[in-house]
Amino acid sequence: MPEPLLQAVGLECERDERLLFQNLSFSILPGTVTRVEGPNGSGKTTLLRILAGLNDAWTGELNWCGQPRDRHRESYLRNMLYLGHRPGIKPLLTPLENLRALMAGRRPLDDDALLQALAGTGLSGFEQVPCRNLSAGQQRRVALARLLIADEPLWLLDEVFTAIDAAGVEAIESLLLQRAREGGAVVVTTHHNLDLPGMGRITLGGATER
């Protein structure tokens, strides 16, 4: 069995006086897609933010490639791509400028590669339009363009299908599967009916009063 990229042992998180989850353990192996499931308010987004390292109100153990994640933060951040509810797109900048700025701190690419990625998400012709003039779906597509040029093996995607049309959903689904085939790992939350072959699941119950 390959070494898990990310391993959680006995995660516990309490938020606003509700116990979201307790004793949650799982491993994210390379070559897998994992879906985090559960009703509204069960802590899906919180779990993803914990995994990403944005939320630190948790106890338990998180290991990255067999080492404590928080002691190898730089290596972890270098190899993890997180897309949240908020797409990380500046409304005043164009898609190209946004993508350039997002990649600048991770892996600077030349404009050709960026334009190609934008074209790949169906944004050809919009590269120079300020993002605030784009639709919600198009803005998300700017963020999703990162998936086409990402070299990070671990993807954490929160509600990745929001505001995306049917064709787009299909394209993303195949992108996730392809990433898994290439040896990466994907963790997603979605309200969309996602059922990929070989997909793992992490099920969160309804939150319980402590």
């Binding site: 938020r15 606003d16 006086e17 109100a57 009063e209 402590r210």
Partner: protein, 247 residues
Amino acid sequence: MWQFFHKLGSPKWFFGIANRFMPWLLAGGLILLVAGLVWGLAFAPKDYLQGNSYRIIFIHVPSAFLAQSIYIMMASAAVVTLVWRMKLADVFVKSVAPVGLMFTFLALFTGAVWGKPTWGTWWVWDARLTSMLILLFLYGGVIALDRSINDEKSAARAVAVLVLVGVVNIPIIKYSVNWWNTLHQPATFKLTEKPAMAMEMWVPLLLSVLGLYLLFGWLACLRMKTEILVRERRTRWVKDLVLAGRK
């Protein structure tokens, strides 16, 4: 050692310890404070310059001491909060901040009352009074931030950062205010005790300072106990405690 440290962080353990120490703190504090105040107010000799009005230092000085050292204690607790995430340290900061504010206000108020007979005015922009006023602002900021954040863990950590930033600034503020003071008015009036203070004035002052520290300890325990009960209200031991109390 570590075991002890962790136990120290447990609210339940603190509850037991606090209950044991509180009567002693209260009794000791009251005895010392009353002794210091009665001695200072009624029996200590008159000041040859200021007459009887100087006697307010027996309240003013202990309050000012407390006001400043509570902020330092909060800063130490803030370090513990940020580094070890000890619950009890959060509780301490949250519980004593209003007490610190109160002592700062008391120091300012007694300073003003002293100012009236000494300088003929309620307020002078004296270096010490101004520093105290800024300390009051710092306490106000800490309390305002704490009340603005709903999640108690986030509130504790945010407040800890603010308190630490404040404690780095306190010496700088004091230094600048002193400099500002010499720039704008010659140093004729100072709220300092004269260096050669008579022994009969020193001892009662010391007694009141010690007494007020002990009383602060008692008040801190009391407020921390209340805060702990609120925070831990859903745990087993608090429920048991409350049920036992009802019988």
